[in-house]
């Protein structure tokens, strides 16, 4: 499918290649005029988009009021770039518009496993120890590179953030990737976990290590509670109800001021301890007990390893569950719910377990978040979080553990790296702040992903049981569930 079709190829032979997709074949093999025309159309489309988004800039006027500064140069440069890019794509022969690609892919959906994709499977086998090793060594590497604990704080914090999203992605992967239930309100369970720890520790003085399992259990309980009414729903309806559930939890947190502190949140949540030994400078502190010099970074490094362990537990349990009857039933449910019922599988219970176990890991991550931040408020649990976690799962390739980890790194670290793109100022002028375009670039990257790897980074499925020979399964055969 990704083969380059020279423009001189006759449309008829192309039609055979694309599995009889007439409209795609018609668009293929166009002459220069056609390419020019589509490039002009793309530039016009860019113009239409750029005028409302890029044209006007507000600035403080001399009188204190805002004045609008038109930036026609920028708009025209963007249109020119799009025109040239479209022209280049057309002339280099990769003239498969976004939409024709999508349709040809559908036409070949019954074609047998693509041997080229088998490499993805081997990649996963090699990548796992590599990733775990890199994650374990990460603080040391940063320490050596930056030459000090205090200097490496930013990077270790970023590592903690990434690992939190890896864990959340793996948790949601159970619900979305394995069971095929589209859950847009996953952040609700993250919030339940965070508030469970915050409330239990500030009210009853329970330690983190007691609260962690409790937070998981409470989140699982809420997962089941949500599951009961919504599991009759499918697809879009399920997505909307879970979305609403996420918002309900957030609104309850805002409005139930007596318990949750409302919009002000809960502050001075107890910090994490080294299994009971606090990370303080005093005599009872971690440093004094272990004969080390006190350094506030010890707590941060401990937090890093804590979330690493939690994430790895999530991963191991998920891998294990996939090979158990329950995991196989989840995947079967994603493939065909009616067939599951005809085989005597209680689909309601199976879906509920997926919701509950997914929610439990969300709850663990939530209580980790609370102890790390020391302060939580409903603002941290808005829909954007759910969308980010879901994007990680979809981007990674639904059901693939390594893919989710890579996607989490890309989704969280990618925007952070964009902060450091100062050299672009030389191109776009002194006033250019790459930070402002983070989300735009990010969106472009997502669109590119969906064009080239619509099934996610790792789209092959690894069988849960092997009879004689291990073979990976092409993503085109694996269904995505009802959502």
């Amino acid at each position: 499918m990704s083969a380059v079709h020279p423009t001189s190829v006759a449309p008829t032979s192309d039609a055979a290649l694309t599995g009889g997709d007439v409209s795609a074949a018609g668009r293929r093999g166009v002459d220069l005029a056609g390419t020019l025309r589509s490039a002009v159309m793309a530039a016009l489309l860019m113009f239409g988009l750029a005028v409302p988004i890029l044209l006007l800039r507000t600035e403080q006027g001399p009188g204190g009021g805002l004045i609008l500064i038109p930036r026609w140069n920028l708009v025209l440069v963007c249109c020119g770039l799009v025109f040239l890019a479209r022209l280049a794509i057309g002339l280099l022969g990769g003239d498969q518009g976004l939409f024709s690609r999508a349709r040809t892919r559908k036409a070949t959906i019954t074609v047998s496993a693509d041997p080229a994709k088998q490499s993805g499977f081997r990649f996963a086998a090699v990548a796992t120890p590599l990733f775990v090793g890199a994650a374990v060594a990460f603080p040391l590497i940063v320490y050596l590179l930056k030459g000090g604990l205090a200097e490496s704080r930013y990077w270790i914090d970023l590592g903690i953030l990434i690992l939190t999203y890896v864990m959340l992605g793996w948790g949601l992967n159970i619900v979305v990737g394995l069971a095929g239930l589209l859950d847009l309100g996953y952040v609700a369970f993250y919030a339940v976990g965070a508030y469970s720890y915050a409330l239990l520790s500030t009210t009853f003085g329970l330690s983190f290590w007691i609260c962690l399992p409790l937070a998981g259990i409470l989140a699982a309980f809420w997962g089941i509670l949500l599951g009961f009414p919504v599991l009759r729903l499918r697809g879009d309806y399920l997505a909307i109800v879970t979305l609403a559930f996420g918002e309900i939890i957030r609104l309850v947190l805002i409005n139930w001021v007596d318990v949750t502190g409302g919009g002000a949140g809960i502050s001075s949540i107890p910090r994490v301890t080294f299994f009971g030994i606090p990370f303080t400078a005093g005599e009872e502190g971690f440093a004094a007990r272990f004969g080390l010099e006190f350094n506030p970074m010890q707590r941060v490094v401990f937090l890093y390893y804590l979330i690493l362990v939690l994430a790895l537990i999530t991963n191991l349990v998920t891998i294990r569950l996939r090979r158990l009857p329950i995991g196989r039933a989840w995947e079967a449910l994603r493939e065909d719910e009616i067939a599951c019922r005809s085989l005597g599988i209680n689909t309601t219970n199976t879906k509920l377990t997926a919701f509950a176990i997914g929610a439990m890991f969300g709850g663990f991550a939530g209580s980790f978040f609370a102890t790390r931040q020391g302060f939580i408020s409903p603002e941290s649990f808005n829909f954007l979080e759910s969308a980010t976690i879901l994007a990680i799962v979809v981007l990674g390739g639904m059901g693939s553990q390594v893919g989710v980890a890579v996607a989490a790194i890309a989704m969280v670290a990618g925007p952070e790296l964009l902060r450091n793109l100062g050299f672009l100022r030389a191109v776009f002028g002194e006033g250019f702040d790459p930070n402002e375009y983070r989300l735009l670039l990010f969106g472009l990257a997502m669109v590119a992903m969906m064009v080239w790897r619509p099934r996610g980074l790792i789209s092959v499925r690894e069988p849960s049981v092997v009879f004689r020979e291990r073979k990976s399964i092409s993503g085109s055969l694996v269904k995505e569930g009802h959502g």
Binding site: A113, P325, A332, D336, L343, G344, V466, V478
Partner: protein
């Protein structure tokens, strides 16, 4: 027919969808160890009867009882869908094949053994800890799957995704998957649809061996008369949701009402034939 040796008894089954009577007051029985065929022209309500028996539809009226060799009787119209397979031991296949296409052939057969494996895995806990009891149960499950792979000639494809199999093999896999639930009664919805004559013959052999070796009674819907007449012991003919004939294949084949239903009659003769055969066609 003696009801004492009946495995499935359908009594006064009626299924209405709004004003449409898909099945009207249908009664028949399948004897234990028999291959019973349910035939009829398109739209006669055969699949509706299947959906009622296997719990996908709740019948408007009527009783469907399944008798186990132990004497236990299950009223299928009262059981939830999944319990019909798990408790009452009725398995089915679908007219449009419903395999788990992204899972391997072996995985398909293991999903069919979900309930016994769930119990063996201590509802996941023992399995999560990797206790030996579960490992043993899983090994047995794979052996049972291997047995059915052998019978259906799919051993070489065990590790291929089910969606990659050719059509005939998918049909056989669906039967193997249904048999992995250890059914008392196997309901096949057009198992020979889309098969070539050679595959049809192989299917006949497979069904006969299932009956001979497993003692499973079979109820099948079929259009392919070479299958129906060759292997079935008993044929029930439906037309417009009403039973028009019931008997051994030779009897049914020569029944004028069946011939009329299948071949049709000239327009001007319709009323005459209807009066003659006593078929009431719901408006």
């Amino acid at each position: 027919m003696a009801s004492s040796d009946a495995v499935l008894e359908v009594e006064h089954l009626t299924m209405r969808f709004g004003g449409l009577v898909a099945v009207g007051d249908l009664s028949f029985a399948c004897r234990r160890g028999d291959i019973t065929a349910l035939i009829g022209p398109n739209g006669a309500g055969k699949t509706t009867v299947f959906n009622c028996i296997t719990g996908f539809y709740r019948p408007t009226e009527g009783m469907i009882s399944l008798r186990h060799p132990s004497g236990a009787t299950h009223l299928l119209e009262r059981l939830p869908g999944h319990a019909i397979t798990w408790r009452a031991k009725v398995a089915r296949t679908f007219q449009n094949i419903r395999l788990f296409s992204g899972m391997t052939v072996l995985e398909n057969l293991l999903v069919a053994q979900h309930n016994p494996l769930m119990i063996a895995s201590g509802f996941t806990l023992a399995g999560l800890l990797g206790l030996p009891g579960f490992r043993r149960a899983e090994k047995e499950a794979v052996e049972k799957a291997a047995l059915w792979l052998e019978k259906t000639g799919l051993v070489d494809r065990a590790d291929d995704p089910a969606g990659d199999l050719p059509y005939g093999a998918q049909r056989r896999l669906e039967i193997a998957r249904a048999m992995c639930t250890d059914p008392i009664l196997l309901c096949l919805d057009e198992p020979a649809a889309g098969l070539n004559p050679r595959e049809s013959l192989e299917l006949n052999d497979l069904l006969l061996s299932i009956r001979a070796e497993q003692g499973t009674s079979i109820l099948l819907i079929e259009h392919d008369m070479s299958v129906v007449m060759e292997i079935s012991d008993h044929v029930v003919v439906l037309d417009y949701g009403v039973k028009i004939a019931d008997g051994v294949p030779a009897e049914v084949r020569s029944d004028p009402r069946v011939i009329a239903a299948y071949l049709g009659v000239e327009d001007e003769e319709v009323e005459e034939v209807e009066a003659e055969v006593g078929v009431e066609i719901p408006a």
